[in-house]
Amino acid sequence: MMIVVLQSSASLMSVIGAPIVIIGGLGLIFGLILAIASKVFEVKLDPRVEQIIAALPGANCGACGKAGCAGYADAIVHEGADICACAPGGPAAAALIAKIMGKEAGAMDRKVAVIHCSSGGHNNTKWKYAYQGIESCKSAVNIADGPNLCTWGCVGFNDCYNACVFDAISIDDQGLRHIDPDKCTACGACVTACPRKLIMLIPQNQHVHILCSSKAKNPLAKQLCGTEKPCIGCGLCSRKCPVQAITVENNLARIDYSKCIDCGLCATVCPTKAIGDIKAGKRKKAEIVAEKCIGCTICAKICPTKAISGELKQTHVVDKDACIGCEQCVAKCPKKAIELV
């Protein structure tokens, strides 16, 4: 038995001996060469770049201002670019990148695109002439100031729709464009696509927008606008705004979103309905829970419409008619004594 095994193992050795030596030798030589070469020809490559590329969504949208995702990754590592610049990736990507870079993700306000014009549909535009040519806003506005009477308003050839790679812009049966804030990644493609500069990026927690860009004076503005809902620059909103967030310039009102408290008051006073309020009618009013209220008057002070009244150390009361549902008081109440109903 032993002998057989020995014999067979001897013959086995003779069979596999040479191959082992030769191929093993090859392996040894290659291994050595590669190992040495990897030292001799070493080039420092930052592994973080690759990690960041993996963390990015790979849409190559260019919202960060770099040449695609790889370029952005390179810029983060080598040029110290802002890690929050990736709009499509949002905070999730920023957090991942931050981890890779060993930094904290900054608080990134999610933004959303808003169209500052209520016109643009086939039934909602007044035409200056019958346009024949390329169906692109950018091309059309160069011919006789664009085919629509209002030279500030939407041309309606859907450059923004075509520019959106996230499917966030839709067109309704009236031919009007709508932006789905959930799908919008604030990449800014539509902003640059619109030759009339009607689209702007606005913090997502804001719901009140002036849906007009017309700088025309009063009677003219109405004549030009296809939906007859232009801003006529009357200044009513500006006067009514509890926080002075609206300014009127060149017959056009604009909201300063750093001041705006999203109360929607302006939308209710606008005579031409040029201010859109997504939350209109859905705003809840404040109500003070009497048990919790300690009567600190903070809410009364903060309320822009002075709808809260009450003496110090007394339970405060909300004037339901005056309350505009801006929720300022809710955030500020130290005892969480204000509820929305």
Binding site: A18, P19, I22, I23, L26, G27, F30, I33, L34, A37, S38, V40, F41, E42, V43
Partner: protein, 202 residues
């Protein structure tokens, strides 16, 4: 005909008649993957020519002076692929260090080549190929040149394909056809077009 004539036949065969991609089905992954832009196709093509030539040389030497004398032809697969892998990695490192510009335009494609079956394919085919007389096996020079010409053939169709695909960027193609499907159908059309070279008597 002479040796030059023989080489001409070899070149014609490798480039047109028995093209690696269109007729032998070798190297399809990079062919379909890196044929979207002419610039990158050119870089890839050059890298493939370079590696195929080098690999042909090395594997031929190993085959002839190591495997045959020791009667170990069954080890050719493992020996060849090891050689190619090491070679590609080595070349990549050298270029990256010594010619960063070249690396940027060509080196990025190198890792893709290790698993390009065209390289291993040409190495194996070289060991089996017979010269035009029908009897003698390839010598060292034959093998190297065959590697080179095969690479040229690969690059040639890669460039032609990239040219067409660049053009197709500017048309409204059915969405489901974009990308791989159209690449494959184009390859089929090119293969049909290359049938004209069938049966050459040079």
């Amino acid at each position: 005909m002479g040796y030059i004539g023989e080489l001409f036949v070899m070149a014609m065969t490798a480039i047109f008649i028995q093209n690696f991609v269109l007729s032998r089905f070798l190297g399809l992954c990079p062919y379909l993957g890196v044929s979207k832009k002419l610039d990158s196709a050119f870089g890839m093509g050059m890298a493939v020519i370079f590696v195929m030539t080098l690999a042909s040389a090395f594997t031929f030497l190993i085959y002839k002076y190591l495997l045959i004398p020791y009667n170990m032809i069954y080890l050719q697969t493992i020996a060849f692929i090891l050689t190619i892998a090491a070679l590609v990695q080595f070349v990549e490192m050298v270029i990256q260090k010594n010619a960063p510009a070249l690396y940027k335009s060509l080196g990025v494609y190198l890792p893709l080549i290790t698993t390009n079956c065209a390289v291993l394919g040409v190495a194996i085919l070289n060991t089996k190929a017979i010269r035009t007389d029908g009897i003698t096996a390839y010598n060292f020079l034959d093998a190297v040149l065959n590697g080179f010409f095969s690479g040229v053939g690969f690059t040639f169709v890669l460039l032609a394909m990239a040219g067409i695909r660049e053009r197709l960027e500017f048309v409204d193609m059915p969405k489901s056809m974009r990308g791989m499907p159209i690449g494959l159908i184009l390859a089929g059309i090119m293969a049909l077009a290359f049938y004209g070279f069938m049966g050459f008597k040079i």
